[in-house]
């Protein structure tokens, strides 16, 4: 099950980036479970990682390698095992994979960033990852985005990708990205796994700022189940290989066009994760406005988006708006004047002045709730701040998928 149209493939290639995959049998035989992304020498890399205190071994190693000098040449991704909660052995395994790839490709181990996703708490079968590397290296191809998007899937039902192009000084630069994730989704600084690349040339500090800005309104604005993963990572590569002039300041019009395009790619990927959320039958936008600050708007939006009662009502297409109201009320907004709060479902006014709109009818509510895509708009009526969060419903299949995950 998934909501809305799937991502459009093929993606536009990015000069300086090649991708390759392998079937390494990490958890189950025959699955495409190993992905390599090769970056041209001189590429700049910015990244955001999970804030979960129990971050996975590959997250720790990737952070260390990013901070080291030589420059990143490969992203190495495996599914089927998260290499999280694995202590010292996990760090050793992640480093062993980087070293093996470095040797095969003639780069230093620190030029490799490792990423893992899958079951938490089991040792990584590093030998299978390493055995799969030659196959992935030989498959490297600038047109490999779709296979890579498939290769990073776990409980995802479909690959996720997005592309945009902008012109910088007469030269077209491309931004392409892929992402995975369907459960354990409440990113905190990043999502499960997202890999973005551009052939624009961007100064490192600016690349980091651009990624941070885009992640904030995309991957950091979605939730499936409120469970922040141990392995979240989002990487943005700028190869500079398009030959366009460098982007050095966000004030320039081309830079603003680039930032807007990057944000569009991130939002499209983040929404693709929600559309493919475990068991999802609805794609839901929770838009909160009229807040004193963005933080309280986000708190209200997440409280509504993560309420099991709101989510089961969405699954049932039941306009049980009292559950939305109750979630707003428990979101901890100090001094909220409930008698001014308004709630709309798409074009239907549900709550006005804190109570049911006199003109509201159950038939109107049901008409909207029957839709696959629904917008819940909440007006706190106390300020000018706003925030939007995207989420899915809570269905029988979410329980089935997560009850059977390891079987």
């Amino acid at each position: 099950m998934a909501v809305g149209a799937p991502s459009r493939f093929p993606l536009a290639s990015v000069h300086g980036v090649r991708l390759g995959t392998a079937r390494a049998g990490i958890r189950k035989p025959g699955r495409r479970d190993l992905v390599l992304m090769e970056l041209a020498a001189g590429s700049r890399v910015a990244a955001r990682f999970t804030r979960n205190a129990f971050c996975a071994a590959p997250v720790t190693v990737a952070r260390q390698h990013l901070a080291a000098a030589p420059g990143v040449r490969y992203l190495l991704v495996n599914t089927g095992n998260a290499n999280a909660g694995t202590g010292e052995r996990g760090l050793h395994d992640a480093r062993a994979c980087c070293a093996a790839l470095g040797e095969l490709a003639g780069v230093s181990p620190q030029a490799v960033l490792p990423f893992s996703t899958g079951v938490i708490g089991e040792p990584l079968p590093a030998e299978r990852v390493i055995a799969g590397l030659p196959q992935a290296l030989s498959a490297l191809d600038a047109a490999g985005w779709e296979e890579a998007a498939e290769g990073i899937m776990t409980t995802d039902t479909r690959p996720k990708g997005a592309s945009r192009s902008v012109r910088i000084g007469g030269i077209e630069v491309t931004i392409s990205g892929i992402a995975k994730g369907a459960g354990m989704i409440r990113p905190d600084m990043a999502t499960m796994l997202a890999f973005l690349a551009t052939d624009a040339s961007v100064e490192p500090a600016l690349l980091d700022a651009l990624l941070g800005g885009a992640v904030d309104v995309s991957f950091n604005a979605i939730t499936v189940d409120g469970d922040t993963s141990t392995n979240d990572a989002c990487v943005l590569v700028a190869t500079g290989a398009a030959g366009a002039e460098p982007i050095v300041s966000l004030q320039d019009p081309p830079a603003r066009a680039f930032a807007a395009a990057l944000q569009e790619v991130c939002v499209e990927l983040a929404q693709a994760i929600v559309r493919d959320a475990e068991g999802a039958t609805k794609f839901v936008t929770v838009a909160v406005g009229g807040g004193n600050d963005v933080a309280e708007c986000r708190r209200v939006a997440y409280t509504v988006a993560e309420s099991p009662l709101v989510k089961t009502a969405l699954f049932a297409s039941d306009p049980n708006w009292g559950r939305i109201l109750a979630a707003v009320g428990r979101a901890g907004v100090v001094g909220l004047d409930v008698e001014r709060v308004a709630i709309d479902l798409d074009e239907v006014a549900i709550v006005r002045n804190g109570a049911r709109d006199p003109a509201y009818t159950e038939a109107d509510g049901q008409r909207v709730m029957a839709r696959e895509e629904i917008r819940i708009a909440i007006d706190l009526a106390r300020g000018d701040a706003a925030a939007t969060v995207w989420t899915s419903d809570l269905s029988h299949d979410y329980v089935r998928i997560n009850a059977e995950y390891r079987t």
Copy 2:
């Protein structure tokens, strides 16, 4: 579905308290949906109500009547309709019910505290409540606790009650209580609905302090779905009718015995709510120790207890402890040293020093997870504070019950 043994009825009667019920047809015909609790003149009443900003009309009215002078003589409870999100009309309806009962019983309207539970956002059919009052009044009986416990049920599958007796100066005093609730359970200061009465004599300020202390470690330590209700209320009545000397200070040994018995009643009722949680197949204790303060222990305990991924793993009897670890990691404990964290499932050591215990086997984990009652013990290893939370699992039936709630 419910976990463990049901409450033992009949409860011990409380001198000065009579209970009566009626079938008023508030939402569905034939259901016992109206409950009256009559209190002897001079009874003291303490209460805790929801902190949800959208508190229901009866909560507002009950608070006002409690603050007024004359003393409380009746608690009036209806199920089938929460009278929440109903604005001015809701307040008017709640007051009309109090006035009608006052007239029939010869007391002031303010001597009546109203309570409602059920669907949010629909007008209360006050005329049906009022029409049912004579039947409930004629049924008043000191032995009416079990019928009252049935009368306040909504999605509950069984009535919940508990009793304790203690001796004060040679005289036996009794504490009996009933509670309801199975979904929308994450009480904040109180639970869905709990009514406790004692025939001890307790000074008002002390009664309030006793209730607060007991609620903190009972109703405020449970969660089913993280959804704090709009109608939570917990009331403690002290009739003084046992004839024992008044309890005036918590320092006296009888007062301490009384406080302990009250806490036992509250914990038993709170646990009964979790055992009967919507769709529950497990009763789970999350005990967090080694914290810097109680607040961070509670935060960790609630994060684990409300994680959909932990809850579905519990439903599946799957020892997928990585999900527990991930939940601990995202609970926002600043400066947590994950390499010291330990996690146990009952007698089985799962995590030591932040990673899988070397002696752990999947068979051990599965043996524990197959149990109906499971204790998850988490040691943060950084201080002496501790907190315990009780919760249930997330099953297919939770989704079914909440998707079909209004049908």
